[in-house]
């Protein structure tokens, strides 16, 4: 940029003019240096260097970079960060907002970590990323800080997902599990209670739709995310595990999509759910779209994570305030229900220059007081066991009482450092199974099994 005006000046004079040469050489050199400087900053594999803006002597003005997704409740997050910086005046926190979608956030965060970016200190980790982050050496082991005494305060499932091999890499911030939301008013009107099996749910939906057809022609039976993305894997896992199937064998080495129980569950979703119980449009829905259908009162049943409760009862966002109830997802036999385990952990980057300050932030955000506040105000299910019997909290968020058993027994997705690649194959298989009408399921399942098995053999040598 700085080079242009000078060069233009020179074109009007004679080329051999000595006066002209000097600025040219100088500008060339400046350009060269500028390019060199930008290049050095953006070289992917440049070794980690101490950031220059850190004063060597004092503990003052440490800037922590907290990479998180676009928050549902920005006001709450701002409050939490302000409280933290008030308590720790020498630490300031910069929050970098990444996209809300887990996949898009993963791509952005891992790109920074691959580049050994020192401007990442604290980040959110989806429960499915822990093996990958641990094996790649991106997340710091936190065993020393996240002590066994501290670990006992959290729900065992949330602590377990933060572990890979011998070490713990994440502190649980929240726990998620798939839940069935339903229109309490409509079920009551037709004399139904929460369905325990899918057959029962379909029967109830058909009765209600038949009765409401005149008054509410756009009412649909079921709304859930079936787009080709990670959410599809979660929901399909719920159908499959609810049918007694699994994605992988118990030892995690072999894909079992061709197993009869797994195949039957996928067949069920394809034949009975898509285009029948749920509109075909569900194939284009991620969580927000499927939730919006429910919030606008266009669905009897809806599958989502615990956060949806607060939104469903939020006057400004929902048309069905007070008409919603929540239950465990149905199974294929009474009592045999499965919910996908989700949730987020706080991790510290291996390349962070401020691990102590980063730990202080994590301790604060995952503490009892903060989790209680997020549960009360945002409906987020806490990962601290004590909160589920906190009298204040249960008054503000009574649904947590029902969530507890579901959260305790949720089914984890495959735990592997190559999970992102496995997930893509699963997304592809499920989406093709549901969207392509004449696809041979057994053949497609066998093909995908072989591809996943090939991927999994890569990790045999890994710890």
């Amino acid at each position: 940029m700085a080079c242009r005006p000078r060069t233009d000046l020179c074109t009007t004079t004679r080329r051999s003019d000595a006066i002209c040469h000097a600025p040219r050489v100088a500008t060339t050199a400046i350009c060269f240096l500028l390019i060199l400087a930008t290049f050095c900053r953006s070289v992917p594999d440049a070794p980690a260097q101490p950031s220059t803006d850190r004063p060597a002597s004092s503990a003052h003005s440490v800037t922590l970079r907290f990479v998180s997704w676009k928050p549902d409740h920005p006001r709450l997050w701002d409050e939490a960060i302000t409280q933290f910086t008030n308590a720790h005046p020498h630490i300031s926190v910069v929050r970098e907002l990444a996209p809300h979608s887990s996949t898009a956030y993963h791509d952005l965060l891992t790109q920074k970590l691959k580049n050994r970016d020192t401007t990442v200190d604290v980040f959110f980790m989806d429960v499915i990323w822990v093996p990958e982050f641990a094996a790649a050496g991106w997340a710091r082991p936190l065993d020393g800080r996240f002590s066994s005494i501290m670990r006992e305060e959290f729900l065992p499932a949330t602590v377990a997902v933060g572990r890979y091999g011998e070490h713990f890499y994440g502190v649980p911030s929240r726990i998620d599990a798939g839940l069935l939301y339903y229109r309490r008013d409509l079920l009551a009107k037709y004399g139904f209670t929460a369905p325990a099996t899918w057959e029962e749910l379909i029967h109830q939906a058909e009765q209600i739709l038949a009765g409401e057809r005149q008054a509410h022609p756009t009412l649909r039976g079921y709304s859930a995310p079936f787009k080709q993305y990670e959410g599809l894997v979660c929901h399909m896992l719920e159908f499959i595990a609810g049918h007694g199937g699994a994605l992988l064998t118990a030892d995690g080495t072999t894909s079992t999509l061709s197993a009869p129980d797994t195949l039957a569950a996928v067949q069920f979703v394809r034949d009975r759910i898509i285009g029948r119980l749920a509109p075909r449009a569900a194939l284009t829905y991620q969580e927000p779209e499927s939730l919006s259908v429910f919030l606008q009162g266009h669905a009897v049943f809806h599958r989502n994570w615990p956060y949806a409760w607060e939104l469903a009862n939020n006057e400004t966002r929902s048309t069905i305030v007070g008409k919603v109830a929540v239950a465990p997802l149905p199974g294929f036999a009474p009592g045999r229900t499965a919910a996908a385990l989700g949730g987020w952990l706080y991790g510290i980057s291996t390349y962070s220059q401020h691990p102590d300050e980063a730990w202080a932030l994590i301790e604060f955000l995952s503490g009892h007081a903060m989790q209680k506040r997020f549960a009360q105000e945002a409906g987020i299910a806490p990962s601290r066991a004590a909160l589920f019997s906190d009298a204040d909290l249960l008054v503000a968020a009574p649904q947590l009482r029902n969530h507890f058993s579901v959260l305790q027994s949720a089914t984890a997705r495959p735990r592997s450092p190559v999970y992102p690649a496995v997930s893509h194959l699963l997304q592809r298989y499920f989406s093709r199974a549901l969207a392509i009408d004449h696809l041979d399921l057994a053949q497609e399942a066998a093909l995908t099994d072989a591809q996943i098995d090939r991927l999994l053999t890569l990790t045999r040598t890994a710890p």
């Binding site: 691959k114 022609p217 787009k227 993305y229 449009a281 284009t284 690649a421 093709r432 969207a435 040598t461």
Partner: protein, 303 residues
């Protein structure tokens, strides 16, 4: 700048190199290095999530795997279908637009500006726009076709073939005006005398188009074809925003597949092999085109 022949080599050399240096440096570092590095990476087996594998050199194994990968076949098929369909439609629409805005009529400036608007909108924004237009509940397409008969609303993007068609449509809408611009430039250099002479000889409108406009427009059309084909091969944002490759992999294009394997799955070697394959395809295509354009320009020069 004066010709270099007047200057002796030893005086000019260092200064010339000095001046070329920044451009050369930028080219080497930002164009050549990444290409060569991708090529080098694509010959290795690298899984970011499994560092214990190391980075073994495996020769062309990634390319062999690519040949046998059904997801890659699907992506290749979708990409080719996209390139052929969108490029042909864009050339056709571009030609019509160019012919219209070449004519003299009231408000031509306004029409010319309006036609450029889609091209000026960033693709990510345009993709979001089209995603909303074909939304199953509040999309404009449904409103236009069915009005308030909301029970008939169609979930366009939920049908594999339709979703693919919509991606093509969005691309044609967005970039036809670019093809039109190139062809408009071509139209403007055709001398009016030729048309006048043809009129005197009694040629009708179609004959004038067929025997004057089309042959003389050929270089511009080839140029538009070159740019559009290469661009269509690189389609990414439309898929990323609108469909994420779904439903059922119907809109999975090579570039998005490469992005997924590289960035989401962390398979640096395999993902690089996908990128290099796309690069080689575009390179060979552009060489074919450049030969075609070069020879057509030569013919024109002789004529």
């Amino acid at each position: 700048m004066t010709g270099s022949s007047r200057l002796t080599r030893h005086r000019d050399g260092p200064a010339a190199w000095m001046m070329v240096a920044p451009a050369l440096f930028v080219t080497l570092v930002f164009a050549l290095y990444p290409v060569l590095d991708s090529l080098w990476l694509s010959l290795h087996h690298i899984f970011v999530g499994v560092p214990t594998l190391g980075r073994p050199f495996i020769g062309l194994d990634n390319y062999l795997a690519l040949l046998l990968d059904p997801a890659a076949h699907q992506a290749l098929f979708v990409t080719f279908a996209f390139v052929v369909l969108s490029t042909l439609l864009e050339l056709a629409c571009g030609l019509v637009i160019a012919l219209v805005i070449h004519e003299h009529f009231r408000g031509r400036g306004l029409v010319r500006a309006a036609i450029l608007i889609p091209w000026a909108i960033p693709t990510v924004v345009a993709s979001q726009l089209w995603r909303y237009i074909f939304n199953d509940q509040y999309g404009f397409a449904n409103l236009l076709l069915f009005g308030d008969r909301i029970t008939q609303y169609v979930p366009w993007l939920a049908y594999p073939t339709v979703a693919f068609g919509i991606i093509v449509l969005a691309d044609v809408w967005k970039t036809s005006s670019f093809a039109a611009l190139l062809m408009l430039a071509g139209l403007q250099v055709i001398p009016d005398d030729l048309y006048d002479a043809a009129k005197v000889d009694g040629a009708n409108l179609w004959q004038r188009f067929r025997h004057i406009t089309l042959p003389l427009l050929k270089p511009a059309m080839l140029l538009a074809l070159l740019f559009r084909t290469m661009d269509a091969f690189r389609v990414f944002d439309l898929v990323f925003v609108m469909t994420q490759g779904g439903p059922g992999d119907a809109t999975q294009v090579l570039q998005f597949y490469g992005y997924q394997t590289l960035f989401t799955e962390g398979r640096l070697g395999y993902g690089s092999a996908v990128s290099v394959t796309v690069f080689l395809m575009i390179l060979s295509l552009s060489l074919v085109y450049l030969r075609a354009i070069g020879s057509s320009l030569l013919e024109r020069g002789r004529a």
